[in-house]
Symmetry: C2
């Protein structure tokens, strides 16, 4: 009897989680993905924990009810604020983006700073986490890094998502904004005795500006390694797949709670491939 | 028998409508205002007509049910996409922000270009409308201006709301972004034979950056007059109030569908006064 095809649900408030799906597709042959973008209620970044949790649980239940046997919360805000609630309300495995990202940053830090001790400057090697205001306020990255024995400094960068969505991913204004945010972050870290050895992209929009972030770090004299939590999450999820399922290309279907035309158009930028069909979904919100 | 105190409902997806309330308070002595910010579902700017209309009707009904005898839709997106639906679903007078704004811009245009004919350059005097993507896509300003016999050119400026909400209202990046948007808009207008004589702020966040917009226009060699649709709306609504009610200071109460702490904090920037109490409201979204 052939093994059933694994079905993985990928959930985000909008389009950013498609960078996680993009990283998953080549790593998960033979797997079917259901992507749900809760676009009618995006962005989650500025909303309260109660509201975000309610929205995320509704979306997670939809994906479980539609046959998913594994759920990826491809949204930093929902992972930071709602992961325990989601796990309480579904009966399948749930992977968020924060722990895989923090583990990948820890590996990067171990490569550049073996021993994790203070350098000659006296500054402690640490991870700089770039994220939305809500993710930073949750301190989910700080706490997860602390559990791995690492120091993390979290910097809110509220303008980066709008700049990516404006399409200004390679634009002088983006470079100015990155220099401002990164200079502030590096100075704030120095002031508390920390040295950024890895920069963790704590928002699924940021992989689209990873090159600009590397460039801005170089201009500021930092050689910190840029770590992408979308890619790290994809590797973690792929490692759970049964080997027998790894035949044939991965397939996917998309659901959105708002305009399917807009989802297909903007989503294809994040997924970097055409999205042939998007199903409209009413979660009653 | 004393006349009952007029109660006016002011609705927005978030905080921006507080610039309309701010303009209303000194013009409406003796009036009580109920402000509702649907912050759990903001921003409306990127959502579909169907979704925006459903949200706006729910909020409008709440305000009618709570004693309002006049409703101000202090949100350009909701006015552009949902005003007819709102009027169909409530039994009280409804004023949106677009028609008062367009009328004020028409008056400004009449002052600088009496006769409304092509100038020596051959370019036709016109109104440049700055707004969110959704307001522009609705063409509500273009159509309202056309009904007044005027040409309007609508320019989407998606980064301005995030910049205002970041607090960068007097910042080099804001000035760069304004120069880029305004230079593009003025060039696009010239290319179709239009000359901007008035610039209409078609988003309730923009009054907070009106000075920076005037400055950027001057730097680009434009002497177009900046017209604030929040102030124009306030004047229109105040003109409907019974004269007998105009005693004592206006009062207000605020409702928000998400974090009341955040509403009180960020809202006070838009209202430019302290917001002592915010009531949490669940519209079931």
């Amino acid at each position: 009897m052939p093994m059933p095809q694994p079905t993985i649900g990928v959930f985000d408030s909008g389009f950013g989680g498609l960078t996680v799906l993009r990283a998953l597709l080549p790593l998960a042959p033979g797997t079917h993905f259901l992507y749900l973008g809760d676009t009618a209620r995006l962005p989650y970044g500025a909303k309260s924990q109660t509201t975000i949790s309610r929205y995320a649980v509704e979306s997670s239940r939809f994906l479980e009810d539609h046959g998913c046997d594994h759920l990826v919360i491809a949204c930093n805000t929902a992972t930071a604020l709602a992961l325990p609630d989601i796990r309480d309300h579904v009966g399948i495995a749930v992977t968020g983006v924060i722990e895989p990202g923090a583990r990948a940053a820890a590996e990067a830090l171990a490569r550049v700073s073996p021993g994790d001790h203070a350098g000659e400057s006296g500054a402690v090697p640490a991870i700089l986490v770039l994220a939305t205001a809500a993710t930073v306020q949750s301190h989910a990255y700080r706490d997860t890094c602390a559990a791995l024995g690492l120091r993390a400094y979290e910097k809110a960068c509220p303008l980066l998502v709008p700049l990516v969505e404006e399409g200004w991913t390679d634009h002088p204004v983006l470079r100015d904004v990155l220099r401002i945010y990164l200079r502030e972050a590096l100075e704030e870290m120095r002031a508390v005795g920390l040295r950024a050895e890895a920069v963790l992209l704590g928002c699924t929009h940021y992989p689209l500006i990873a090159d600009a972030i590397r460039q801005a770090l170089r201009e500021l004299g930092s050689d910190a390694e840029v770590v992408d939590s979308a890619a790290a999450t994809a590797r973690t999820v792929a490692a759970t797949l049964p080997v027998a399922a790894t035949t044939g290309p991965a397939t996917f279907a998309c659901y959105a709670t708002d305009s399917v035309e807009k989802f297909a158009r903007l989503g294809s930028v994040f997924l970097q491939r055409n999205i042939p069909e998007v199903h409209l979904l009413d979660l009653g919100g």
